[in-house]
Each structure stands twice: as C-alpha cells, then as structure tokens.
Amino acid sequence: MATSVLEHRPPALPHAHPKTGIWSWITTVDHKRIGIMYGATSFLFFLLGGLEALIMRMQLIGPNGKLVDPDTFNALFTMHGTTMIFLGVMPLSAMFFNYFIPIQIGARDVAFPRLNAFSYWVFLLGGLFINASFIVGTPPDGGWFGYANLTSSRVMSATAAAPSPGLNIDFWVLGLQILGVASLAAAVNFFVTIVNMRAPGMRMLRMPMFVWMSFVVQVLLVLAFPVITVALILLMFDRNFGSSFFMPDGGGDPVMWQHLFWIFGHPEVYILILPAFGITSEILPVFSRKPLFGYTAMVFSGIFIGFVGFGVWSHHMFATGMGPFADTFFAIATMVIAIPTGVKIFNWVGTMWGGSIRYTTAMLSAIAMVALFIIGGLSGVMHSSPPADLQQTDTYFIVAHFHYVLFGGAIFGLTAGAYYWWPKMFGRLLNESLGKVHFWLMFIGMNLTFFPMHFLGLHGMPRRVYTYPEGLGFEFWNRVETFGSFMLAAGFLVFIVNIIKTWRGPRNAPADPWHGATLEWSIPSPPQEFNFPKLPVVHSSVPQWDARRAAGGELPEPELVSGEDIHMPNPSYWPLVAAIGVFLVFFSLLFIRTWPSWWMFTIFSVLWLFYGVYRWAFEPAH
C-alpha cells in the first residue's frame, strides 16, 4: 500500500469539505450518502404505501364495509400501487445500486456523481409531488395502470359525465413524469458506471451477480421509460389540449394506451424483481459457503429474461380481444420466460445443495424469496394461457400472483439485502434475534395475507371493488387476510425497533462479518469516502475469498487511511437547483387546464432548469 496508515479516522483536512451537517448532505455527490438518502426516503414512502394497504384491508375485513367510501378506496389502491412500485421497490433497489455497484466493481464513485445527486433530488420531489395530491384532496384514482377513459378529463358522450375532470389524474401523470426523469438519469449513470468504471481485471464475467442483474435493469430502464413518457405525454395532451389519442369520439383508441403502458409496464416488472434476484444470488453463496452454482448460466438467463420481457406486454391485455394470433404469440412468449427463471431457481437450489448453511436473517429472507417467488411464478405461468387468464383477470387471483412475486420476491430480496449489507453501510450489525422475529412475522403474515387471495379470486371476488355483499363466501378468507396484513405490519415495526436499537448500539461490525466473497467486504465498515485507497486488481469473481484463502483463513481488519492524495469530486448544489427546475416545469403544467395563462410560469420554470443545468455544466467537477 503506497499511502501511509493511520490508527484512527483521519482528522479533517485543511481543504476538505464539511463532512457533517445538513449542508453536507444537500450538496453531497458521494454515492454512499446518496444511497442512504434513497434508502431512508423510500422506506418512508414504503411505510406510507403499507398504511394505504392496511386501510384497504380494514375496509375489506367484513362484507359491506363502511370505513371508506368508494372514491377513497379507488384512491387508496391507486396510490398503494403507484407508491409501492415507483416510490418503494424501485428506489429501495436504487439504494443498493448506489451504495454497492461502485464498491462491488472496485470503483470510487459512479460515473457521474452530480447526475447521481440530481436523480435523488428529482425522485424526492416527484414523490412529494404525487403525494401532495392527498393534501389538496385530489389523490389519483385511476389505478396505477391509468387506463384511458377512466383517466379522461372530458365528456365521452352526451349522456355521460367526464370520468376524471379534477386534478387527480394530473397529479399522477405529471408525478410519474418527474419520477421518470429521475429513473432515466440514474439508469444512464449506472449503465456507464458498470460498463466503464470496473477496476482492473474486473471483466464483465467476473462481476458479482448483483451487478449483473442491476446492469440488465439499467438497460430495461433506459429502453422502457421513454415509452411511458410518450404515453403520459399523449394522455396529458388529451386531458389538457383537446386531442383524441385515447378518445373514441375523436377516432382514437383506448387500447393504444394499454399497449404503450404495458410495453413499459412489463419490463417494469423485471425492473422490480431483477435486483432482488441479484441480492439473493449474492447471499445464498456466502451463507452456504459455496460459489454460486452456474454463474454464466445465471448471467445469461438474466439477460434473456430482460430481453424476452420486452415481447410479452400484451399478456396483460388478453381481455381486450386481440385475436388468436396475437394471443398465441404473447402466450408462448410469456411461457418461454419461465425457462430462464427456472434456470435461476435450480441454480439457487444447486448453490445451497451440500453447502454448510448458516440461517442468518439475510439467508432466511433469501431462501424465502426463492420459495415465494416460485409460487408467484407458477401462478404467472397459469395466466399466461389466455383461456385461463380470462377467468382470472380482474380477480383477486391476479392480486395474489403479483404480491407473491413483488412482496414474496422483491421485498423479501430487499429485506435480505438490508440485513446482509447493513453492517457494511452503517458499521453496525442488525440484531439477529429481532431480525428473526421480523422475518417470521413477515413470512407468516405474507402468506396469510396473500395466499387466500388465490381462493377468493377463483371464487370470483373482483379486485379494485371497495366492498362485497355477505353470503358469497368471501367473509372468512378476507378476515384471515386482514389478520395477516397486520402481522406483516407488526413485522416491519419489529424491523424499525431493530434499526433504532442498532443505531443506539456500538459500532460492532468488522469489515467482513459474513466471510463474503466480493470486494465490499475488503474495505472498512462503513467504507471511507473514497472506498479504495488503491484501486483493487481483480483476478476472479470471488476476490475476497481468494484473499482469504491466500491469507490462510483469517484476514486482518483493513486499516483506515487518510487518503489525502485521492482526488474525490467536489460537492455541488447545482444538481438540486436543476432538480427543482424539473419539479417546477411539471408543477406549472398541473394548472395549465384551469389557468391557461400559467404557460408563463412554465417558461420561467424552463429557464430555471436551463440556468441550473448551465451552472452545473460549467462548474468544475473536481
């Protein structure tokens, strides 16, 4: 090591930037801090989405529920879906992208640190924007899929009223556009980071599986988000400027919205699940003390899932009557996706087979992720068949399916990641006893909540309906589901208690508490700002195991170094200024129908954005 070694944390350097205080967080461009901000923000949104779900479960606990009225129920399921997808699971994945992609590939930061900060601020403002609709009393209520006609602002025929004349859908349309800007900027950033920032020797086929799956996700984001951007633009123009893209009375076609939405929407499903696949593929080998079984097959099955994921969107639309040719094509394509997914599942099982397994909370969650995803995957294959789908569509069977893949899959994977990487991020190990209580409450609660939905769906209980009459046989399982949902909530309360308890506890985490295989375990917990005093040189896909073997089993704790000769990017507030510009542009469009002269405010917002971008572009990055 070329730099000298210090015993303790380095003192503040003369020209160093402030490392603490609110301003240091506002101007930070450190991928680790941005990752933590993503995590904290999205966990709060996740709790909000969970609260919305609990209110729905209370409403459905018995027949003829009176807790909320139908309009509120519409808003609840719309915002539950929107929040969980765009403000919960996606940014929770982004937390791990931010914190661990650079470290796992041996880089000191992402390719564009300021763009990374910009992504976070735009995401935060977009999330606040879309939820501000509750405060002004017009929450989005057209479903997370925003089907045209339901989301129209004008009268369809002489006898009908306009379905959604208020600002509800405008908040949704413009909020998603803001979040799309954040996602696209982040996706380009991580794409370049993975392509171009790998340490010497870190070839593509040596990258950790989490980085690989994240890489597929970035490609999906880059290619899928522009499609929903266009769909939302067209919908916005329909609502505000009188066009008829999705309006039959002007010659338009509501099904066109469905096509555009699901061309984005299906890849989005893989955007949500593939990071959890990656996390699971990191955790299973470490706690089985065996390398990942079939690494190359895992890589290519992930790529194949992402690729075919663009050719299956119309399986969401079998009920629109597309004809036998389209139905057959999309049914077969959907069934084909089961093959690479099966490859992954067998490889996970093969990884654990014969290993010496340690049942930590992270490992339990990862195993549960595999098991629950199989259930959700199998019911997915069931409704890939159009005749079966026509029976199941719009029933609770579908709700059961996607909660098994998104809660059972994505949330369990992310929970596993949280327990696995917490010591690295905060230097403190989460309490394992509380962790196991959290896990079992979550596991049992999840199955009690969502498994009976299979039965209810097959018995014909429709989804998205605010209540049901007595005597249809829905009472018992609905009560069980509501009970299960409160168990789930209790599980997350235990998690919060665990976080607080750990926070107050001592810094007890060594650099490599789990005997991990990848580069993040070779540096101190938490890592120093520059991650690596010297860029690592990588010779295999398990560099830390190689080092451990070479050292004869035990590795010394890595020492803290001053790193004063390492040049890190300057902090900057221009990303935040530019992000406020993006926010203002879409905020100004919110009132364009009510007060057309607000276009002047739009011009002002665009100028603000340009000003921020120019100052950013001409500010020295180093």
Partner: protein, 219 residues
C-alpha cells in the same frame, strides 16, 4: 502523511483518476445510452402516428382533399402538405450534419477558424430548420389544422413538435459550443466536448430521416 510513491509512477501501474474499463470517455457512453433511450421515445411517437394514419374523422388531411371546418363554416379543403418547403428543410438539416463533422475536424486539428466557420454554418442550418417548422405550423393552422382538429393534427404536431424541440435543444447546445470556441475554450484536447454535441446532432438528423418519408412522403 507521506507520499511514499505516486501510484502512477510505479511501473505497470494505472492512472487511477482517469481509469476507465473501455478506455472510452464516460460521457460518450452516456450519450450513446441516452440516444438508445431516445430511439424508443421517437419509435413510440412514430408508431402512434402510423397507428392513427387515415383514422381522422374530419379534414384537413395530409395528402387528400377533404371536408373541414374553416372560418366557422364547413367547406372543401385542399391537402395540407407542401412537400418542396419541407424537402428544402430536410436538405438543410442533412447538410448541417456534414458541417458539424467539418467543425469537429477543425477542432481536433486545432484549426479554430475552420471550427468556428463550420460550427456557425451548423447553427444557422439548425435555426433555418426550426424557422421552417414554425412557419409550417403557422401555415397549417391557418389552413384549418389545429392541434385538436383531428387525429392527424394531434399526431403530426406532437411528433414533429417533439422533434423540433430536440432540434432547438441541439441548436442551443451547438451555439453554446460556438461561444466557447470563439472564446478559445475548445482546444484540440477538449474536442470531445464538441464531439458529444455533434453526436446528439447526428441523432436528431437521423430521426428526421425517418420522419420525413413516413410522415410527408408515404401516402
């Protein structure tokens, strides 16, 4: 704090602060990824145009005479497109792609005059194209084609309008580069800054190469 040895001076060591896996600049890869994203953006808009082609309920129509409402009365309308003007705009835009290549060549060779001259020509071409489009929109509007008149109007203005917005952003970017070039801030080692703008500009042109035949020539 001892600087025992600078990493870069060790034999076989790498320059840590400028290390990239591919040897390419980060910004170039980022712009290619962004262009990939933009391809899907325009593909969605062009698909929408094609799906709704011929589905308009009233005139004016692009290639055929039709019934439309003009000045409050229903009357026969001429086909709306005027191909010669757009062909001229297309040619100007395509030539601007050549000009920006020449400007970049000047930048890389350190020939400032060449860079500034061709870059000015590029910006002027871009401005001409945007002006052509503004004139065309104005003209079509007075022929009775508002944004919400029919599906043709909505799809046409949306598609060409978003393309025009991209051209305008390209003009602003290239004009910024021109100002920097005049101030002497684009030396050969920073020619990549101009190359990035040029890359974006080529992409905007390529999109128009698709839009021009699909929208204006295809009947």
């Amino acid at each position: 704090m001892a600087h025992a040895a600078s990493h870069t001076s060790e034999p076989g060591a790498i320059d840590e602060h400028h290390w990239t896996s591919t040897g390419m600049d980060n910004r170039k890869i980022a712009l290619w990824a962004f262009i990939g994203s933009e391809c899907l953006f325009f593909a969605s808009l062009i698909s929408t145009y094609l799906v709704y082609k011929g589905k308009s309920l009233v005139g004016p129509l692009p290639h055929d005479a039709s019934e439309c409402v003009l000045n409050g009365t229903k009357q026969a309308c001429e086909p709306i497109f005027e191909i010669p003007l757009v062909t001229l705009g297309t040619a100007v835009l395509l030539f601007s792609s050549l000009f920006v290549v020449l400007a970049l060549y000047g930048a890389q060779k350190g020939n400032r005059k060449m860079m500034i001259g061709w870059l000015s020509a590029t910006v002027l071409c871009g401005l001409f194209f945007v002006g052509m489009q503004v004139y065309e929109f104005y003209h079509f509007f007075h022929k009775g084609l508002g944004y919400s008149t029919n599906l043709f109007g909505s799809t046409f203005y949306t598609l060409t309008g978003f393309h025009g917005t991209h051209v305008s952003i390209g003009v602003i970017w290239l004009a910024t580069m021109l100002v920097l070039a005049i101030r002497g801030k684009v030396p050969p080692e920073k020619a990549l800054n101009l190359e990035l703008a040029a890359l974006y500009w080529h992409f905007v042109d390529v999109v128009w190469i698709v839009i021009f035949p699909v929208v204006y020539l295809m009947r």
